[in-house]
Symmetry: C2
């Protein structure tokens, strides 16, 4: 959305996550004991609005037939001493409050809270590791859900779109 | 974000909220015992990706100097029997899981859960009433926060952008 105003400078408190800004595209794989393993194409976007956080949105599509799969959206909040907070909404009926730390350009977060609507599946914990190496972004999402213990669920490698 | 595929038809389960689709612009007012009353300009957008929910994002700017104020993003999930679930992330460090019902084109939701990061202000409850009358969308958001009981916080009237 346009603000109707000139572009805003990156907020000083958001500089710690400046390396995430932009659009990233690539592929990932999902697996979990309760589902068939699947491949996906992903587009993730990080942007700022001049305030001390980054906005975030991503979508994925099935590699086999291109149907839309997952999406999520939220905000990354860098705090002093390398602390990073993340709030996310997911159309599966979930919200996450994740917290963790930034080391260089690697983020390691775990859920402080996973909330769910009445009709959503039970998710009891999530961890997210995300690292940027130049123009490559890799992440691993682990999840404890539907009675299964915390385990790797998603891995992906994205490249910064020109 | 583009899917790289032809436009998708609205999912049948999302039709109940079809009246929300589009971009809405207008003005609102915020008030709360702990802050000075303020006016804002808002742009809200509801769209779909062919799945049984609507994606949602909004931003507001101060009426006095145009600085960016609030933003939030999430997903509206219509369910059988007029039930609607809403999951939202807010860059103040909050997430909401709201649930309620749709009557005609009026939604009345209340929070099942408000989650917060370690550094966010305490919010204990939110209600959202939203109604669409032709090309006019009005909403009222009430909030219980920072020790204050649930009370009206935001009112706005938006018009559908051409």
């Amino acid at each position: 959305m346009s603000s109707g105003a000139p572009p805003l400078a990156l907020h000083p408190d958001a500089r710690a996550l400046e390396f995430l800004l932009g659009t990233w595209v690539g592929e990932g794989q999902g697996h979990y004991p309760t589902i068939a393993t699947f491949g996906y194409r992903e587009e993730a976007r990080f942007w700022h609005v001049g305030k001390p956080f980054l906005a975030y949105s991503q979508r994925t599509w099935a590699l086999d037939d291109g149907r839309p799969l997952h999406s999520e959206t939220g905000y990354w909040r860098p705090k002093p001493d390398g602390v990073v907070e993340l709030v996310i909404a997911i159309p599966t009926g979930h919200v996450e409050v994740d917290e963790g730390t930034l080391h260089g350009t690697t983020l390691v977060l775990s859920s402080r809270l996973v909330g769910a609507t009445s009709t959503a599946k039970t998710v009891t914990g999530v961890t997210r590791q995300l690292e940027v190496d130049g123009d490559v972004l890799r992440y691993v999402v682990s999840m404890a859900a539907v009675g299964e213990p915390l385990q790797e669920h998603l891995t992906a490698e994205l490249r910064r779109a020109p």
